[in-house]
Symmetry: C2
Subunit: 322 residues, 2 copies
Amino acid sequence: MSSPILVVGSVALDDIQTPGGAVREAFGGSASYFALAARHFAPVRVVAVVGEDFPGAHRALLEKRGIDTLGLEVAPGKTFRWGGRYAEDLNERTTLFTHLNVFESFHPRIPETHRRTPYVFLGNIHPALQTEVLQQIDRPKLVALDTMNLWIDSARSELLDVLRSVDVFILNDSEARELAEEQNLLRAGQRLLGLGPSTVVIKKGEHGAFMLRRDAMFCVPALPLAHVEDPTGAGDAFAGGFVGALAAADDTSEGSLRSAVAYGTVVASYTVEAFGVRGLCDIDMPQLESRFAQLRDLTQFRVVRDTHPSKAYTGAGREPAS
Amino acid sequence: MSSPILVVGSVALDDIQTPGGAVREAFGGSASYFALAARHFAPVRVVAVVGEDFPGAHRALLEKRGIDTLGLEVAPGKTFRWGGRYAEDLNERTTLFTHLNVFESFHPRIPETHRRTPYVFLGNIHPALQTEVLQQIDRPKLVALDTMNLWIDSARSELLDVLRSVDVFILNDSEARELAEEQNLLRAGQRLLGLGPSTVVIKKGEHGAFMLRRDAMFCVPALPLAHVEDPTGAGDAFAGGFVGALAAADDTSEGSLRSAVAYGTVVASYTVEAFGVRGLCDIDMPQLESRFAQLRDLTQFRVVRDTHPSKAYTGAGREPAS
């Protein structure tokens, strides 16, 4: 039986420029991407803030897809705005502007009915706000948290505080290296495990994802795509697929976590193929399942039986002592 | 039954500087790394040239490990020398010098007894020399070829010529993009398939490897390593494990190719953990098998049964038409 998910994060209007095109005031934000990804798997409840200028069509886009917007607060002022430009190869991004607007004085309020949601995602907002969310919720089964270099730089101690109460820490490779102060990604991940979370998931963009636990590691490649339109939101969509799959299975075992990383990868692949949230809106579960099967096929290998190298050749056994 | 392998490439004396240390006149070269990797799987025959200054201990190192050096020619003059320095994160390498020496006038001569070797690896040498090798050999079962940006820049038409007679093209990601004149790696790989080879294997260093065929794709991550000492030769060692595993199985089916990419990945992981060829000399087949099993465990995932997302939740099925 699938369990509901609570997400707290940003809802934004994004200006995005890529080598292939540009959009203005597109529906975005970490909570939006997460919710539109996770809703394929389980019921999703959004807590976030928008301004009075927030288009009704965007709220309707969430609600028509079964996403609970009771916690989507409207505050006096303007909606959070972000602008970014991608370089030719889409791997490098420059932030052109960040207008916090209503986000500047935001304090998340979890509606009474949502306080016992079993799966919780703390999207990329100030770690002190992430802690405020945890103070309002009641015995969740799993809390996952995302962050970014801004908070690692400017709110490190608050981030370390909230991490002590988190089960799954999701971040990208450069953030992992920065927070752990360690270039080697395996050692960086091991240090992050020491901060509290039992699971660390490191997103590597086009190079896939890497999950680390005290007693297990798991790697999955990104799906090779012939066309990438816009990487915006891929990390949040990944998190949505990941937490979504866990909530759908209502299972946080290692096997379920591995499968969830794969679902996250699949959802992210659809996200980057179109501008903004469009890639997430146009897909359905059969498409996700089909690409999940592709991802399995892409990564599957076995020993070629009867012709096992160590049995077929013993020449190298004549190893000299020196 | 394992089949023999013929490798033609360079044998060199390398000066290597990394953030962790430095070595001078270390035993290196593409044929050396390849042979020391492949010999774990199948009998290996080396064809290359060295100068009169080549230390007998290096030849002995190959021979003691069962590698056939009948084709390791000694020419008047000095052995090929290469010097390189790695940056802090070991991903960037600067070539400090390249002294071709005896390599300048080298033309590979395949000994009569070696002309029917079923598995052939054309190591990273001038493509015109790679063609000379193919003209001397008789109906091999599989020919694999490696190259580098130097030949893509300076001998493109000769490279395109030899590629028409090759089964497996092994190269790294930046070389693939450069030769294909295409930034997207999937599209680049597809273009390379159009040049002749039925299989393209793109090495991505710490990000693993990507195999492409007309009807199949396969990705494998690199093994996460806590300590990388020296990346020199990792690509040649990968090729040695790859061709070695194919020759050991004497099977070039897709399943065997996948398994071979995994063995190449495993051999490369040992290579980078020590300076020069040492990592390849110290290991044995049980260690390779153990890391092969680790690589399988690292990449394995499945649907969490009975709690399959698409069955557990039907909320997203209420998709609006708009």
